[in-house]
Symmetry: C2
């Protein structure tokens, strides 16, 4: 049984067959448009596809959609495209070796994976016409009616995949390679990262559990080990990323991205390297625009932090000071404020971020995405960690001074009221406010356990609900434009099952690997920043991520359209964010340990500002030194991927060398010396023998002089 699964997992081409040879499905949604417009755009679509050598079949998609099935017209065309793509890779340094000049032989030597095939067809469909594609950009520009372009799931592969992963403890590199052959390097990189992180979490969980049971709370030893762990993990992944990129043959592929259709060029210049005329936007201008990121990041942080701080103050006041009427209801107020205001704020800020990123005018998709991710990461950071920072570094140390002043509205009667009588306890304030020492730990547990579980559940539930809602919305839209959805009765009965499947897949959401990476990155942040508060966090993450890895696989298989197999040579900007969190961790840990380490029950001992600054200064510099040392050490150890790259480059060159190395000097003794003064100088002694004799004469002469 397992053998069959393996066989299915490793048969890359079988899949398309089970999809009746369909490479892409284009969902054409005419339901939201007028008939004339729809027909015109449809005709244009078919013609564009036909022009680039794609063959089409059209079926009713039901619900006001037409499904255009796309495949390459001839295998020969595909082979030509593959070859050109490989040559382009080689021209840009992605491949070490040029592809074989005989294309057929080249394909036999490096068989076409399904991901490569799909990627190449995708390029045919989406690249601008100037670059040899049909120029189809779903939902944009001239192609507003195209709802989506997606490949079809290979259900047999998916079933085998899920089965395999749910029955093994770890995902092997071979499994990742199979995944990459189907879903492309970008998705494979996410799973590779997740697996690598999971393996490291075993160590972190072991360290955390030992610290929890054996060491005192807020142990310095644990904080140091935890920091070291994060440094080693980040540096290790940095190397592994390069390694995988080399093994998967995608190193530097990020430099070879497809041009954004929205890129606005300032002028056309001749590329100094390729001598082609290219669209040009000056780098310094982009740089100037990028500098707007700094005020934006600061502003966004300030706004969001202020929001959190005010709500936090209200929350503290309500839960720990206020004792008046409706307390049981009012305590839910802060959570309500946050859950309504934060999405509003972040969506406004995200819009501004998008405007900024558009303004920065990137030439290709991947740099655009990276710029956007970096901006949004600022909000992620604030929303994820500021509540905990507030508790740890404001509430706990200064709560006793600040909290009594929170009652600016005078809602709480002064504490003399306690003297009155037992009956008037409704408006009673606690005699002396005492900081709740467990608050920080409870909050950390909430973020590292409860929130993770909730998010795991939501990830499964939300797409399902979304689908329901969208279906309703479409029905409404259809009705408004006079479209009565077909019920599938017109289908050829032989195709009905297949078409039903395709219609369902067309309704699924788009898988965005960045969301999953963000989730993991934020999680890593909790570990580096706050695990001294509750060392078991790593254990929770270990369990959570073991499931996450599998549920993400299931999500791709079941709840999302099959992703287009894009290439990538890394996890992109997330590596920097991991490094940043690891650095922040060295600061946060030092501050936490300094504040809480000697305290009973989490109450800080007397603290001095210079003490905490010294702790941070020390810790940070130790962090730098450690990172440097770990990087050095890892850099000296050879990695299999880099070895492979060196070998490939060497072999390519040696082949050339062997072809060309017939050159050898003929020994024509003394051929060089000619005439004149130079000839006289070099003519005195003949050959080695002459020189030896001359030397002995010189040596001898001086000794003899002495002996005389």
């Amino acid at each position: 049984m397992a053998d069959t699964d393996d066989a299915i997992l490793s048969a890359p081409v079988a899949a398309v067959a089970s999809n009746l040879g369909v490479e892409y499905v284009i969902s054409f949604r005419f339901g939201g448009s007028d008939r004339e417009k729809a027909e015109a755009q449809f005709e244009k679509l078919i013609r564009a596809l036909d022009n680039v050598g794609l063959r089409t079949e059209v079926r009713d998609g039901a619900n006001g959609n037409a499904l255009v099935f796309v495949r390459v017209r001839s295998e020969q065309k595909l082979i030509g495209e593959v070859y050109r793509s490989r040559v382009k890779d080689w021209l840009h340094g992605v491949r070490a070796a040029a592809p074989d000049k005989e294309t057929q032989r080249s394909l036999a030597g490096e068989p076409l994976t399904e991901a490569e095939r799909l990627r190449i067809v995708w390029q045919l469909i989406t690249l601008p016409e100037s670059e040899g594609g049909a120029g189809i950009t779903p939902k944009q520009g001239d192609w507003k009616l195209i709802e989506s372009v997606f490949p079809l799931h290979d259900h047999e592969f998916n079933k085998a995949w899920m089965k395999k992963w749910s029955t093994t403890w770890t995902v092997s590199p071979e499994e990742l390679e199979k995944l990459r052959d189907r879903f492309g390097e970008k998705v494979a990189f996410y799973f590779a990262f997740l697996q690598s992180y999971l393996s490291f979490l075993i160590a972190a969980a072991a360290i955390g559990a030992s610290a929890f049971f054996l060491l005192p709370a807020y142990s310095l030893a644990f904080a140091v080990t935890n920091c070291l762990w994060s440094v080693v993990f980040v540096e290790h992944w940095k190397r592994q990323e390069v390694d995988l990129a080399v093994r998967w043959g995608v190193r530097n592929v990020s430099s070879l991205q497809n041009r954004r259709a929205q890129f606005v060029h300032e002028k056309e210049v001749e590329d100094p390297v390729t001598c082609e005329v290219v669209k040009f936007f000056p780098a310094w201008k982009r740089l100037a625009r990028q500098s707007l990121q700094v005020p934006f990041a600061l502003g966004a942080s300030a706004i969001l932090s202020a929001l959190y701080a005010s709500v936090f103050a209200v929350e503290i006041f309500l839960s720990e000071v206020y004792n008046g009427p409706f307390k049981s209801v009012l305590v839910f107020l802060p959570a309500t404020i946050l859950s309504t205001l934060v999405p509003v704020f972040t969506s406004i800020l995200t819009k501004i971020a998008k405007m900024l990123t558009d303004f920065e005018n990137y030439e290709n998709e991947s740099s655009y995405d990276a710029a956007m991710i970096q901006k949004v990461f600022v909000f992620n950071f604030i929303c994820s960690y500021v509540p905990l920072f507030l508790t740890a570094f404001i509430y706990v140390p200064f709560g006793n001074y600040i909290v009594p002043h929170l009652d600016i509205l005078g809602l709480v009667t002064p504490s003399e009221s306690t003297l009155d009588s037992d009956s008037s306890h409704i408006f009673e304030a606690p005699a002396v406010f005492q900081v709740n020492p467990d608050r920080l730990k409870k909050q950390v547990i909430y973020f590292t356990v409860t929130a993770q579980v909730v998010s795991l559940a939501l990830e499964t539930l939300v797409p399902f609900l979304k689908r329901k809602i969208f279906r309703k919305a479409k029905e409404y839209q259809n009705a408004r434009h006079g479209v009565v959805p077909s019920d599938g009765l017109t289908d050829d009965p032989a195709e009905r099952a297949f078409l039903t499947r395709v219609r369902n897949e067309a309704e699924l959401g788009l898988y965005d690997v960045e969301t999953d990476l963000r989730e993991m990155c934020v999680q890593f942040g909790y570990l580096t920043l706050f695990s001294p508060v509750w060392p078991l966090a790593a254990v929770s993450f270990l369990i959570n991520n073991w499931i996450e890895l599998r549920s993400d696989a299931a999500k791709i298989c079941v709840e999302m359209r099959r992703p287009v197999p894009h290439r990538a040579d890394s996890i992109g900007p997330w590596l920097n964010n991991l490094g940043f969190l690891s650095w922040m961790g060295s600061i946060s840990s030092a501050a936490l340990i300094y504040l809480f380490s000697d305290s009973a029950a989490g109450m800080p001992h007397s603290l001095t500002l210079w003490g905490i600054l010294t702790a941070i200064l020390f810790s940070e510099h130790i962090y730098f030194a450690t990172t440097y040392a770990v990087r050095m050490a890892m850099g000296k150890l050879e990695s299999p991927g880099l070895l492979q790259e060196r070998r490939e480059r060497f072999l390519v060159r040696r082949r050339f060398l062997e072809e060309s190395l017939g050159v050898d000097e003929k020994t024509e003794p003394d051929q060089k010396v000619t005439i004149g003064k130079e000839g006289e100088f070099w003519g005195k002694q003949h050959g080695a023998k002459g020189a030896m004799d001359a030397g002995k004469r010189i040596i001898g002469a001086t000794y003899e002089k002495k002996e005389q």
Copy 2:
């Protein structure tokens, strides 16, 4: 006149001719040995040279030396070697393009520079026999009697060079290229760095002078600008270094170094890349040995700092507290202690550093040198900056508390003595000790002006004195072994002038470019660390370095043997040291400004520990952010060298592409679809027309339904 100079500067091959075609001179010093040994080793030498295709002539070197003149036997041999070297470069990724298969054509396309010729002959002489050389290692192993192996100066070139440089303000890239063609990339990199630094110093001097005359002392604005300047300089050089390496065709050349003869292999393994059997020493073992550097650096720093601190205490005591007998003599005591003890300590520590570096067992010369440089840099750092750190951060802020306790021997009578009478003022202490506020500034001026001038003078004087002393020592040694030096009377009169010149050159010292780089790096440190104390430092350095650049050129021409033209792709580990000093500068400046900025006459105002820590913490993080931003910004701007590299690689690949790209698909429509279910699915609609009609039918049908 200038035209002739230019002509000489750009005629690379003329030089060897004026040296009678001599490529290298081997100075064989038999004076220190027995006759039999000397004769045996001499014979071996000639045979070894003969075996690798080198031709020799021997002349009396006078003073117990024999001079062996070496040249390549045939031009054909040389061409073969050049070709092999270029192919090796290409195999290791130093060159983008493979050299032309026709060697003669290859040399015509890329003419042989004198540096390349000399480098290749040098390799013939010094490479181990296993790698095709004669395996001659001067002063080591079997070649103890070989005093030196050196090329001869090209006096005409040197004269033109010195004349040109002493009459122009800046050294142009073309000049550097000429230099590189003669002296190799390693020396050229030093001068390129020095010129780049000099250009940046113009800005620094302008900033410094304005700050000195317009801003208050210890101005924050100046400190920030100065720090920013240092960041920009380091980042700029980092890019320029790569750029130059590409232009000079030596990028990555550091990965292709010659093996150290002293490398001890643990076992022989097959290289996974080249499949050759290579000598192997495990990286982890070297790493473990390298970790000894940490305790060594800490220990050395502690010892040297303690030395400086004690001497400093004595000095303060003697100059500012002590008033007893012999004061006028005793004040010289600290300087004497330092100038005797520091060399002793550093030479012991350098020996330990050498032992450590030997123990680390590097495979090639350049990594050995880099490791040694890094260790010695620790001493450089301590010896150069600790005296100033002590004054700035110990003496000035804490002097008033510490100094009165320095009189541990009770040499000074208590201050009551002032009450006695005017006559007993010999043993009188100052009534209340007052820190000397000018001390720091005076010290900075000493290090940035006086010491620079002195070192410039010493650089010129010391080699001259050394030569004198060595000549005496040799005469003594000759006498002991019964060698009576020849007086040159046996020379062929036609050769006498030439031989006299060669004998003189043989006596010159060896030029070590690292010493000059060290000097510049240490100077840069004064600028980053202490220029807030005296902003004119940059002006002094600007003047000094303008002369230094020229005097270093003169030093190479006149006082040193002509250096062997080694290759290099950077200034090596000094870049890291510059970065380190720039970082330290951000810390030191912040501390200086915090301590002294509001003070009159350099006395610190009331200070708090947390204040200084905050200042440092802020400043350092601003430094990080700035460095990051500058690096980003510079990274986005294209550099000419990198552009050239991209172009070369692209052209190489395109050539291949043009040769091979005859591949194009034949349009065989619908060739792919075959039979069965798949055939049925794809057979419904014929061509684009069929699909369009089908689509229209689907679209129409739904609208019609509505219209019914």
